[in-house]
Amino acid sequence: MKEVKFLVDLGSTFTKVVVVDLASEKVICRVQGPSTVDTDVMIGLREAIQKAKSEAGITSIDREDALASSSAAGGLRMVCIGLVPDLSLKAGTEAALGAGAKLVGSYSYELTKDEMAEIEAISPEVILLAGGTDGGNESVVLHNAKMLASSKINAVIVVACNKGAQDRVRSILENGGKKVKLAKNVMPEIGKIEVSSCREAIRDVFVKNIVRAKGIERVKEVVKEVLMPTPQAVLNAAKLLSEGVNGEEGLGELMVVDVGGATTDVHSIAEGKVIQDAIYGDLLPEPVVKRTVEGDLGVRHNIDTLLKIGREKGFLDGHDLDVAQSLTRINKLPETPEERCLDMKLARIATQVAVERHVGRIEDWYGPAGRMIVQRGKDLRGINSLIGTGGPIVFAQDPRTVLEGALFDRKRPNLLKPESPRLYLDGDYILYAIGILANLEPEKALRIAKKYLKEI
């Protein structure tokens, strides 16, 4: 049964398995069980695989045919260090988020001793060190390299700084006993952002170092490889779905909204060009493949924030707040009709706010030359497709209502949200699996994705 693949997500809350048959390009089944990362990750994994095997009617699987992504044990915890906050630090942040990282700190200019102590306390798994355009400033990144070299941190340091300083930064760090991975400068010149080399370096570090560091390396007894952080798997799937591959057509420019218990992620694969006659107001353009993470918009971990926003915007009433009492437990799934209804409202609020933060916006400026339009961020009004994923959307009573939170609002025309995309639901919850499969069998992965996305 070489053609059957088990695609696993070692999640923070649930371990999920999607079983696909590559020959018939079908999803055989999808199962999930509680994660056991806190005790022994193997228990939950073996249980989930066993369950998948029995549902799929398969007696044994080869380790070679099981692949995983992981957001277990806190995700890929990263700190970014840059020079100017709006420039190299912002470019570095975009690269880290696009690599599926969880950003746990960002620092600019010369690091102080206090900041260094703070980073030691945060104890990230990967640090991205940027700063200076190629041929630009060297002193700040050299200073920061020295600070890191003499610190206690044992994170892998991805160096994506001024090309002219790279070799010296590397020797300083290596002489301090630090693990270093080089990437191309994430901001080679002002106004240019170069995230792909950096993302690849981060993924490489993840596969080679982080899986072991997290103590989940034992999963390799059951799965061949933990290939990437789960958010990157979703982003991979989005990219494949948008761009297509080898003649297999994609859906064009799109957005994926992934509502979860702890965060809400928004991915856009779109140029988001500057509106005609408008002036771009930021120093850096945003990447075509862009991911934002809203750490305050999870429907369980941050239910209080959502309730507060919901009350302020008039989406929720007093009764909803009473119902919410029973939903505050982190791994609680909604049961009663009232709970399901509230859960849907929360997912809608999370979707709306997360998309509003992701998309670009325009402002009118009145100057001596008359009215001018200034745009910041990406114009996503014209995208073709909007895809909803994540439990709170997929299992909502009316997923369409939830996704409509992402759409353009005529009352707030300055927010450049999608105007009239086709709406799709990742109803079988397979996007992460498509993202894992995209590395192996891109055409088949794309056809399966297109087959299983439901237009709503």
Binding site: L83, V84, D86, L87, S88, G131, G132, T133, G135, G136, N137, E138, G164, M187, E189, I190, G191, I279, G281, L283, W365, G367, P368, A369, M372, V374
Partner: protein, 142 residues
């Protein structure tokens, strides 16, 4: 080894979008061996500083043709000093004030604001290049 090119930041400040002059100047400086970061029109004063910091620029050349330059550039030198750019040359040129007045007044006013060179709206590009080279030599950067 090729000698490292010196970086210059150019742009029009504030809400001014008249970029033709500054585009010509940028092109001319590039042809004469400089690395030029063009911030183009409608550039907030802070963005000149950010770009100069990130690129280790040696000079910031600001254009203003809409008469509001004095407002836009108030405290510009101080901001540069604060940002660690004390040694970066600051040049400004254009219609720096609205209405009829003596050019000399403009020059004095902007020199007081901390600009090293102040130019009227019409100036030969060669003149700017010559001044720039002279000033950079004085600072030991060329």
């Amino acid at each position: 080894m090729e000698e490292k090119k010196l970086t210059i930041i150019t742009g029009t400040v504030g809400q001014d979008s008249h970029t033709i002059g500054v585009s010509l100047l940028s092109r001319f400086l590039r042809e004469n061996g400089f690395n030029v970061v063009e911030l183009k029109g409608l550039t907030p004063p802070e963005d000149f500083i950010k770009a100069a910091k990130e690129t280790d620029a040696v000079a910031i050349l600001v254009s203003s043709l809409y008469g509001m330059g004095e407002m836009d550039l108030a405290g510009f030198k101080d901001k540069c000093i604060e940002a660690g750019l004390k040694d970066v040359l600051l040049y400004v040129g254009g219609y720096l004030k609205v209405g009829r007045h003596d050019w000399k007044e403009d020059e004095e006013r902007f020199k007081r604001l901390g600009f090293d060179r102040v130019y009227p709206p019409e100036v030969e590009l060669d003149q700017v290049l010559e001044d720039l080279k002279e000033d950079l030599k004085k600072k030991g950067k060329l």
